[in-house]
């Protein structure tokens, strides 16, 4: 079995674990043997664990709560009623684990991880995956090779404003996403040459900018985003993250300079008719957009005194004005309010004309 074939087989594990041939499964484990410890639950469960790449980060955090691999393996062996004489096939293991997880939820054997409600069995599985495989299960050959690893259909964000975080995740890292075709489960995303935690789904890859590397958003410039394939050493340049210099600060009518907001470029629509919606949204509301940079995430667009459902992007803010707010003619101030400081960015006046 050629290495390339093994990698392709590995990709399919997540989607259809039971479809692997025995040769492919064993070959894959041999290929990973430099970093992969056997779980002692049988080779098929080892394959299942190896394929559970997405559980790596969760497993690491869960593993920090204690219990070593032997204890976890023993718990799982007991939970699944395994014995040296009874080594399940991959399909059986998959079925048994699924049933055990369902029973956990039914019997309230659950725990919370970053808000997610998980069954104890799946948490043990994720922990064990981390303990036996970690994230560095495959060693790279010497010297990177520039080569396409996967077809990237889209990715983002590709641009931010100096000092403006994007896709901020609960642990503080900035998210990156990739829409891809046929990507190996074990690839790494590298940002400015540094490997970042990477999670591979069917059709998508997510990663982010973690730790001290987050300071790159404070320095205008372009930073390469790459896929790295450790087993082969291949590197694919996906694109560049552009950090553009911060625009000039907004100057208030009283001459004071905003410490929060940047110059307002444009906004709209600024006029409609009572009971009518310009730029209609799927829920029947009116979409209002404001083109400006550096609006902090903890901000909202205001329609008079009413907070609007607001979406904040790197260089734009959009919000939905419910039709119920547009039933009468009048002039309504549109502002962006930053909750943290209480500062308001005056956007303009939305004129609602009397009905015809």
């Amino acid at each position: 079995v050629k290495r390339r074939q093994l990698l392709v087989a590995g990709v399919s594990v997540a989607a259809s674990a039971a479809a692997l041939t025995v040769a492919a499964r064993m070959g894959m484990l041999q290929g990973w043997s430099s970093g992969f410890r056997r779980s002692d639950l049988g080779p098929d469960i080892d394959v299942l664990l190896a394929a559970a790449v997405g559980a790596g980060g969760s497993g690491e955090q869960l593993a920090a709560r204690g219990r070593d691999a032997e204890v976890l393996a023993a718990r799982l062996r007991s939970r699944l009623s395994l014995s040296p004489e009874r080594v399940p096939s991959l399909a059986e293991a998959t079925r048994m684990l699924g049933s055990a997880i369902v029973e956990d939820f039914a019997d309230a054997r659950v725990l919370e991880h970053a808000g997610w409600l998980l069954s104890e069995t799946e948490a043990d599985l994720a922990r064990l995956r981390w303990l036996v495989a970690g994230k560095r299960v495959i060693e790279a050959p010497a010297g990177p090779v520039e080569e396409s690893i996967a077809e990237v259909k889209d990715w983002g964000p590709r641009r931010t404003i100096e000092g403006v975080p994007f896709l901020v995740q609960p642990d503080g890292h900035y998210g990156l996403w990739f829409s891809v075709e046929a990507v190996p489960l074990w690839i790494e995303v590298r940002v400015a040459g540094a490997a970042m935690p990477t999670f591979v789904n069917s059709g998508s890859v997510t990663s982010g900018i973690h730790g001290s590397l987050r300071s790159i958003i404070d320095k205008p410039g372009t930073y390469p985003i790459e896929f790295f394939d450790p087993p082969t050493g291949r590197v694919q340049h996906v694109g560049d993250l552009e950090v553009v210099a911060k625009p000039a600060a907004y100057v208030h009518a009283d001459g004071s300079t905003s410490a929060i907001f940047c110059e307002l470029e444009a906004w709209g629509p600024d006029e409609t008719r009572a009971g009518m919606v310009v730029n209609p949204q799927p829920d029947g509301s009116m979409g209002v957009w404001v083109r400006t940079s550096c609006v902090p995430p903890d901000s909202t667009m205001m329609f008079g005194d009413v907070r609007l459902a607001t979406s904040i992007q790197t260089d734009a803010v959009t919000a939905r004005v419910p039709l119920a707010l547009l039933e009468v003619a009048g002039e309504f101030p549109i502002e962006i309010l930053h909750f943290g400081s209480g500062e308001r960015l005056p956007v303009g006046t939305l004129r609602v004309l009397a009905g015809e």
């Binding site: 980060g57 939820f105 829409s179 009397a354």
Partner: protein
């Protein structure tokens, strides 16, 4: 829209305003129009008058001032959401429709408030009529009929003991003013007076002799009626009754401690996320039975056993990206085969009825000399906590059913209660009860102690469910028309 002879402009042709009638309906929104037309059709021997404060177009700026008032509780834009013109708020509604659930008629399972004094089944006939008025082609809310035609659009919750799927349906939306203008014009025993603002009730003992009206220019006239129905919306109706109560407390309903109390509105909550199969459509889409929107709802048994308030949940797809946990969805080893996606959960919560959440009268008066509204909206933290608890149960149930996982995000109930979202559904302030100590109107919508004064509005809701109220308001109007036309009363 050109007014025809049956329409009278109060301020231009006050001589054509009748002195008296058999039934006077105040307010030409969905409730008033349905009530007036149904009653006029059922009783051709009657003269029915429908009085509307606005004209035929959305109100001009000066009329907007009439809706303003003071707000001392949670933020609430009093001027928003109300339309003072022929057709009322149907001029801007989005058409979301759904009857209250049977459980909404029962006392709250957590003991926080009473139910309706009537059962859900007593509304069945009127609800069928309401669907016709709102031009909704079907009145079935069975989500699985829709799921059969749109596989994969919903989670299959038939094996769940806690949750189920249900639907919202959609009116086109019917603009009652334009849709039923010709019907009013063709109804010979129905006269519609526009630009006539109700400024007081002519009470004598237990009877409401009529209603005092004024034009914006100051012309005044009292229309006397054998029966009077107030259908001015959930705020203005109560405001007029509160004003009447300052002049006469001859009837129990005007003395009721419930008058003005228990103001409530539906509120939204985003308690977390779920990881569930990709392609779910808990959003509006077209089905052969008409436009529908699936929602996840608690089962009656779960509401009762866990003492929950009613609510619904919609799943809204999130952009790609995010943390690591969802990335293992799709892995058969975790019991999640297939393609998965992350969704944000949007809930609509049934509010708890709270006596201290109330509308009253302000010391400032409007153009007509009526005291302005004073709103003290209170949202119970318990309502939000209840929503979070239900979502946590849903998160666990998704795992048990092998369809996904749920993530409960931190919720600051106190902060949300202090500044909640609004739906502009004004409910609860003239609530229905068999007792004047607990409510303002009886099960026939008659103000307690009165012989002939009725209220048709969402203000009569003693419990609120999570459904948008328009369909139920129109159903109440149809039911009231039947009672008024036949003179029969429901049995206690």
């Amino acid at each position: 829209m050109d007014p025809v002879a049956v329409f009278t402009e109060f301020d231009r042709d006050i001589g054509a305003v009748p002195d008296r009638c058999d039934l006077l309906v105040v307010g030409a929104g969905p409730a008033g129009l349905a009530l007036a037309l149904e009653a006029a059709r059922a009783r051709p021997d009657w003269v029915v008058v429908l009085a509307e404060a606005g004209g035929f177009q959305p109100p001009a700026t000066e009329l907007r001032d009439l809706l303003s008032g003071s707000n001392v509780g949670a933020p609430y834009p009093l001027e928003a959401s109300r339309l003072r013109y022929f057709g009322g708020t149907s001029g801007h509604w989005g058409g979301w429709c759904r009857p209250l659930d049977a459980c909404d008629f029962l006392p709250a399972f957590d003991g926080s408030g009473p139910g309706w004094p009537i059962s859900a089944s007593e509304m069945d006939e009127a609800l069928q009529a309401a669907h016709r008025w709102c031009e909704i082609p079907q009145s079935s809310y069975d989500a699985y009929e829709v799921l059969a035609r749109h596989p994969g659009s919903m989670l299959d919750l038939r094996d769940s003991t806690l949750f189920d799927n249900s639907l919202f349906r959609f009116s086109p939306p019917t603009r009652f003013g334009s849709r039923y203008h010709a019907d009013v014009a063709a109804q010979e025993n129905l006269q519609c007076i526009v630009r006539a603002t109700a400024i007081g009730l002519a009470m004598r003992g237990g009877r409401c002799e009529g209603v005092h009206f004024s034009s914006h220019a100051g012309a005044k006239r009292t229309i006397r009626a054998s029966q009077v129905a107030l259908a001015m919306g959930g705020l203005e109706t109560t405001r007029l009754l509160l004003h009447a109560a300052t002049e006469s407390q001859a009837i129990a309903g005007l003395r009721s401690p419930a008058l003005g109390a228990y103001f409530a509105d539906h509120m939204g909550l985003r308690p977390g996320q779920v990881m569930a199969p990709a392609g779910l459509q808990y959003a509006r889409f077209d089905d052969e039975s008409g436009a529908v929107m699936p929602v996840i709802v608690p089962r009656l048994e779960a509401l009762r056993d866990r003492r929950w308030m009613n609510m619904c949940a919609m799943l809204m797809p999130l952009p790609a990206g995010g943390e690591d946990l969802p990335s293992y969805a799709g892995n058969a080893g975790f019991g999640l085969p297939g393609e998965y996606w992350r969704y944000s959960v949007q809930m609509i919560l049934e509010p708890h009825a709270q006596r201290e959440s109330r509308i009253g009268l302000d010391s400032e008066r409007d153009h007509f000399g009526l005291p302005r509204l004073r709103l003290d909206w209170r949202v119970a933290e318990e309502t939000i906590n209840n929503g979070v608890a239900v979502f946590a149960a849903l998160a666990s149930e998704l795992g048990r059913l092998r369809v996904g996982r749920g993530r409960v995000l931190p919720t600051d109930a106190a902060a949300i209660a202090a500044s909640p979202s609004q739906s502009f559904h004004h409910m609860g302030t003239t609530r229905m009860s068999d007792s004047a100590d607990e409510g303002v109107v009886d099960r026939d919508l008659r103000v307690h102690g009165s012989e002939n004064l009725f209220v048709v509005s969402s203000s009569v809701f003693p419990r609120f469910g999570f459904a948008n109220p328009t369909l139920m308001i129109v159903a109440l109007a149809c039911r009231a028309a039947s009672f008024l036309a036949t003179g029969r009363r429901s049995e206690a």
